[in-house]
Symmetry: D2
Subunit: 149 residues, 4 copies
């Protein structure tokens, strides 16, 4: 899918928990890192986009395989799965980079609500924001809960 942006996200040794695997909460942290890189990539104004106000309204994540710390980063595929009037959804797959392996570690989806951080009120999506997001609009996130619908 050409809509998909691949982001390489480095792991940290501390992402592992007492079981010796990357902790489930740290997977959600990896999604945050992928999202920040995505905003820099997708929007000309980069991180400023964050200041315009995007608030996480929902996460859903399926864990598929245990991940151990390694010097090699994980690859996170990021794309848009829904564009609404004042929010949009992002799909992700956390996986090995092609040069490293072929394991899929997690599939996830995040709903981002557009917010005006200064006065704390929701805002409508701007036209240029919608245009930009449409370039990255792809398939639904392959979550288990979606497959069963």
């Amino acid at each position: 899918m050409s809509q998909v942006t691949e982001v390489l996200v480095p792991l940290r040794w501390s992402d592992m928990d007492a079981y010796g695997h990357v902790n489930n909460v740290q997977f959600v942290r990896l999604l945050e890192d992928a999202r920040v890189a995505m905003l820099v990539d997708w929007f000309p104004e980069g991180l400023e986009q964050l200041d315009r106000g995007i608030v996480v309204a929902r996460h859903e994540i399926d864990y598929l395989a245990p991940l151990n710390y390694r010097p090699q980063p994980v690859a996170v595929d990021v794309w848009v799965t829904r564009i609404g009037g004042a929010s949009y959804d992002i799909g992700y797959v956390i996986r090995d980079p092609q040069s490293f392996g072929s394991t899929r570690y997690a599939v996830a989806e995040t709903t981002l609500a557009l917010f005006n951080l200064r006065d704390g009120v929701p805002r409508r999506m701007a036209a240029e924001e919608r245009t930009q997001l449409q370039r990255h609009l792809g398939d639904p996130a392959p979550l288990r809960s979606r497959r069963s619908l």
Copy 2:
């Protein structure tokens, strides 16, 4: 609901991110803390239960209101929403303790898969585990995605 266990989870100043709110990933960390306390409370063998092997297979979380750091803990309601053959679901509400306020910050659900950590294979739920979980079985988690079904 008598099935619900209330766990008080202290915040840390570092739970806040650069926006000055408790970061969305740290909400998932609060769920982990509530889950650990729940296991100690529900199972006679307490934390040993973790060693018997419970692996997070899925999280879904809806963010309802911004949360700022404060010395007072949040209350997390925890209960069982589904009991399967080799997994079960936990519902949570993150909210103010009654003595402090009445805001609900998040609603979430986690699927826990039963695993044998030593040999890395899934395991069936033991009879006494099922009996224990049934005491805490309650309503579905009031997630937005469930309401629309």
Copy 3:
């Protein structure tokens, strides 16, 4: 020592790393939590004190014993070890609460520099700040490096 303020700091399961002990970096996080509680306790204006601008300029920490996660908090003794013109030092001992045990896990010292966060310049200590800190002034931190001097 009456100068010492005892702060109870709860642990989190995630404070443990892949070795199954509370990670050395998380000890520094526990110091932060103790410091925040200390500011609330020592200064009438509490957390506002942070906004007036206190910046960590230095940490030194000796690790004395491994610490494992447990539902019981650690106790952190906090006191002032030096008062300067535009900075002060805080000593800490991380230990078991008396009701729980008698292990000392770490000794540490932090230099806090007074800063004006709005315009980013150092500031002189205010008279009432000095008065308040003097009530908590005690012995040097029992760090190994100090003992050898």
Copy 4:
């Protein structure tokens, strides 16, 4: 200094705290990441070295300049500042990579104690470990406390 190993350590957006700067505790986390990369670089057996048992016995860190999140990594210079019978010291400078800037953000030193993790007892340094460390032995860490001695 040829003894110095330069490690590039990526930042995470979440390294920032509510002040909008990389949090002082996260600086200590960056040191951990640099140390893990250093072990992979210095020792043929790489991360296995960690399992042979290296325990952090002390940290000292001076904060020199505020650091903000950016997609570009920081450079961490790592070298050996002392070799003892059952421990050694590592010096670090956290700074901009040369292609990016010339700010020094922190200077630090860590004492690593050699430990036998399985039976929990200190161990003597092996001959090949000493040989390897001597290749990286350099100047004392330029900490403020050292300068005043």
